[in-house]
């Protein structure tokens, strides 16, 4: 019985966490460079739509994933232009992109509404690992390959951020762009690349929804997941490995909330994923004295020569 619960919670938590994790990792990179992108939801849904269209027309879902990354990157390029070059208000620019993304995807998606996808991304059973007791069926079977992509990315990102020169550069641009600039770092380029990467990841997260999680296209199908991803970046204190934990916690509690409806009031259960994720992460950070604050320059446009 307990094993049963453990297995389904692990598995469903992971499946639900995948798009949140992928989008959150992308946004994490952008925010580490000092640019906040509230357009994640819009980029996710554009990724979901164009990923679906590309997969539907070509018969190959991986092409869909690529197309989704491309669309997300394009939209993010726009945001980077507004935020970095024009030095506009980053919050407004991001929000505008979310609204435009939601609207355009609804409009352009009409011919595809309700169309079943002929070749969705197939599920994997990792050889060897899926035979493990409990962890096998819980983590290593029946998941989409994008789930593992997200996990691998998280580890790679962690290595990059804390153990490579590139990562140090990225972080310095987000903490003190003036100092980084003085040391010869091209702050604008780093920020552009970070934001575009974030957008591409958001697009891929959206593609997961329309090519693996569901798989169809329906208007508004991201249902606020982009916003949850943004929250996860904060819950995770801008750390990729904590982002994995945060995303999985959220997914696990989202699933458990439905199973526990048999025992607890459903209204209370709706807030459970949010409440428990925050609780766990705050407690764990407090216990380990993890630094919980945002990159210093987050949200503020950088102008060379301007005093704070």
């Amino acid at each position: 019985m307990l094993e049963d619960w453990l297995v389904t919670t692990l598995a469903r938590g992971l499946a639900f966490a995948a798009p949140l994790l992928i989008a959150a990792l992308g946004e994490l990179v952008a925010e580490r460079s000092g640019v906040i992108n509230l357009g994640v939801e819009g980029m996710m849904i554009l990724g979901a739509l164009f990923g679906f269209i590309a997969a539907d027309m070509s018969g190959n879902s991986w092409l869909g994933v690529l197309a989704a990354a491309g669309v997300g990157a394009l939209a993010a390029l726009l945001h980077a232009f507004f935020a970095v070059t024009l030095r506009a208000n980053q919050y407004v620019s991001g929000l505008a992109l979310t609204m435009v993304g939601l609207g355009l995807s609804g409009l352009w998606g009409k011919p595809f509404a309700g169309k079943p996808l002929a070749h969705p991304l197939s599920k994997l059973d990792l050889p060897g690992l899926s035979a493990l007791p409990v962890l096998g069926p819980g983590l290593f079977s029946g998941q989409s390959p994008l789930v593992y992509l997200g996990l691998v990315f998280a580890v790679l990102l962690w290595v990059y951020l804390y153990h490579t020169k590139g990562g140090v550069t990225l972080r310095s641009v987000g903490e003190n762009p003036a100092a980084a600039d003085a040391l010869g770092v091209n702050v604008y380029l780093v920020r552009y690349l970070a934001v575009v990467f974030g957008g591409a990841m958001a697009g891929v997260a959206g593609a997961y929804l329309s090519l693996a999680y569901r798989p169809t296209w329906t208007e508004g199908m991201t249902a606020g997941m982009g916003w949850i991803a943004l929250a996860i970046v904060i819950f995770a204190a801008w750390d990729p490995l904590r982002a994995v934990l945060a995303a999985w916690l959220f997914g696990a509690f989202y699933h458990l909330a439905f199973r526990w409806q048999a025992y607890l009031a459903p209204e209370f259960l709706k807030m459970m994923p949010y409440a428990f994720t925050v609780l766990f992460l705050v407690l764990s950070a407090w216990a380990k004295s993890v630094r919980m604050s945002a990159p210093e320059a987050l949200g503020r446009p950088y102008v060379r020569g301007e005093r704070e």
Binding site: D4, W5, T8, R12, F16, G106, G109, K110, A113, G114, P116, L209, Y213, R214, P215, T216, W217, T218, E219, G220, M221, A223, M225, Y254, H255, F258, R259, Q261, A262, L264, A265, P266, E267, K270
Partner: protein, 380 residues
């Protein structure tokens, strides 16, 4: 007879309003791409538009309940004379607007408050749900049927109750496990709720959510399900057994024809309340139009034989077809909510030999025996 009446009205109508078109507007609570509730209303709108050359239609999608008033203002400014508000939550907004525009005709779907210029209309599924329940009860191997519900309001409760009565008629020990997602449209929530039900042992599914998600998730696990609102057979041709289909167009055509003919005016709608069911063809049993039962499941349904109080030894497929026939007759020789029916707390809700009134159906809060799970606002 109905067709003759309609034809006469149309002739009268075209004589009466020879000068012009009638402009009608639809207010939708969701996107027409949802493939659920709003999509079905839009299909109805297009049917009406196609049928009547004098009709001009407009629509507004995804209007939150708080904004229905301003959307109505916009539509009236555009010259719309008949407004269909397609969500329960629009009720108070519509009634307020009706006072502001006494010359405009309003029709509120699923509502129960009317005015001289506000009619209400509903195409209800409870009969169809009973038939779906019979099939679900016959097909479940674990004895647990799963239901993903949107909001615990009387409409959804009524449907779950009718469904459960059907399930128990075919399988007296079966249970219907209910999970609520508190939204009309949320594919991710529907997916996780279905996965949770599967983890809890359910193996046949029905639902109230505006997308084919539950059907797809069940099919991924190779489990049968019932379509909701729109034809969903194509999403899982091997796993959709049947379902509830709606034809809002039938109501829209009737209402608009009567407006055009001058029978319905902004002064006499106080008692106009469409409660249309199988006999009026507002709803249909089926996984797809014209497919009441998926042929793949007919052998399994014929294999299950029951002893019915009226028909004696009969298999589930034949029983479904027989009751379907009876319920299509305006005389309604059979009704799922015919007593005696006790709720799951043991209280007698429908005495023997009686049926429920429309008002009782519309305000149902109790749960029948066999419903397992949270049931907010359950009477003591």
């Amino acid at each position: 007879m109905r067709k003759v009446l309609l034809a006469v009205l149309l002739v009268l109508g075209s004589l009466a309003l020879a000068e012009g078109k009638l402009k009608a507007g639809w207010i939708y609570v969701g996107p027409i791409g949802d493939y659920g509730w709003t999509h079905a209303h839009d299909v109805g709108r297009r049917e009406a538009e196609k049928a009547f050359p004098w009709l001009e239609t407009v629509y507004v999608e995804s209007v939150p309940e708080g904004q229905v008033g301003s959307v109505i203002d916009q539509l009236v400014r555009q010259g719309v004379k008949v407004i269909f508000a397609t969500s329960f939550g629009y009720m108070d907004g519509v009634l307020d607007a009706a006072k502001r525009y006494p010359d405009v005709i309003f029709a509120h779907a699923t509502g129960f408050k009317r005015a001289p210029n506000v009619a209400t209309y509903m195409a209800d599924f409870y009969q169809v749900y009973y038939l779906n329940g019979l099939m679900a009860g016959a097909l479940t191997k674990t004895g647990k049927v799963g239901y993903v519900g949107a909001f615990p309001i009387p409409e959804v409760k009524r449907h779950i109750n009718a469904f459960t009565l059907g399930v128990r008629a075919a399988n007296p020990k079966a249970k219907v496990l209910v999970r609520w997602i508190y939204e009309w449209y949320n594919p991710a929530a529907a997916k996780e709720a279905t996965e949770a039900l599967i983890a809890d042992g359910a193996d046949v599914f029905a639902f109230t959510e505006d997308s084919p998600t539950v059907v797809q998730v069940a099919a991924e696990h190779r489990l049968p399900s019932f379509a909701h609102y729109s034809p969903m057979l194509k999403f899982a041709p091997d796993y959709v057994v049947s379902g509830q289909l709606v034809h809002w167009g039938v109501i829209y055509k009737d209402f608009l024809a009567k407006v055009y003919a001058g029978l319905y005016t902004p002064k006499n709608l106080e008692d106009v309340d469409y409660w249309w069911l199988l006999p009026q063809k507002a709803v249909e049993l089926g996984a797809d139009y014209g497919v009441p039962v998926n042929p793949k499941f007919v052998p399994a349904l014929k294999a299950k034989v029951l002893t019915h109080p009226v028909f004696g030894k009969i298999n589930v497929y034949d029983l479904v077809m027989k009751l379907h026939g009876l319920m299509q007759d305006v005389e309604l020789a059979f009704d799922p909510f015919e007593g005696p029916i006790k709720d799951r707390k043991g209280v007698l809700r429908v005495p023997a030999g009686l049926r429920l009134t429309k008002h009782q159906l519309e305000t149902m809060e109790w749960a029948v025996e066999g419903v397992v799970g949270p049931w907010p606002n359950e009477p003591k």
